[in-house]
Symmetry: C2
Subunit: 165 residues, 2 copies
């Protein structure tokens, strides 16, 4: 595909939030499904070098847990609860990385899926943290790298699914 969509990550100094914006060459119904259906999520979420498993993925009002595994077999768990899941426009969830020294460093994530002309979609992720330190810790842990790689895998997934359709 000739189009190269860019992942824009906005991290303003001193704030306890960040924004991730990305366009996709797919209708938002499909983009929303890729964020909420287990068998699709497993195909794109996380850096290429990690394997991804879904431990749990409940509906709105329920909980979710994902685990990434590296080649050495180390597990990196993430979990939270889904506050809202309104297809195909909005997803609001809590998020916690289980590898931190103490529990309770939770963030709130709102994903908005905007329909664009030509069956394209703009994703806006708005993540709010308990503190600036929590946010900066997430960014410094290499979040940006994982997000960009995930979005490139999503491009491939959508291209494949739309070709088959």
């Amino acid at each position: 595909m000739a189009t190269k969509n860019e992942t824009v990550i906005k991290v303003e100094p001193g704030k306890q939030e960040l924004f991730i914006t990305r366009e996709f060459e797919a209708p938002r119904e499909l983009v929303f499904r890729a964020f909420t259906e287990s068998q699709l999520i497993e195909k794109w979420l996380g850096p290429c070098k990690l394997t991804m498993k879904i431990d749990k993925l409940g509906p709105e009002g329920g909980s979710w847990r994902f685990v990434h595994y590296d080649e050495a077999g180390n597990a990196y768990g993430f979990h939270g609860v889904t506050h809202e899941s309104t297809a195909p426009e909005r997803l609001i969830r809590t998020f916690e990385f289980e590898g931190l020294p103490e529990k309770g460093h939770v963030s709130l994530e709102k994903a908005t899926f905007e329909a664009l002309p030509g069956d394209r979609t703009r994703l806006v992720m708005h993540n709010v943290f308990m503190s600036v330190e929590d946010r900066d810790g997430m960014v410094q842990a290499g979040m940006e790298y994982g997000v960009r790689e995930s979005h490139e895998k999503l491009d491939d997934l959508f291209a494949q699914m739309l070709q088959q359709a």
Copy 2:
């Protein structure tokens, strides 16, 4: 009771968070129960002039919904999901007021229950919002009044329970 504990609400200009701190003349096991057991919550949460009903109160990983009714029968609903409920020390939940013009203005609430000498407890509520506007809207809607009245009802509830014990 001679003691008069003060509810301190810290709302720094331009931030998307607020802190509420309050001490109670009760051990934290009891304070935690008052925040997590339906039959206790109904006795203190909300302003005196409203009646409070619990529609739903799931465990960690589940959802909750509370409704306040005024004398005219108008209903004010609130709901969210419980990310963590660790007795007797911590409670992390999402929160959304259903009376706003649009859905999706969610906040994240972390309540920490600290044990103090003499079977007393310090409650610290840390609320994080999607924006400064969301936070300021909540404050201007009279949040402070409802919180102070709720805490005074909690004082009475604890005094009554400890006398009966």
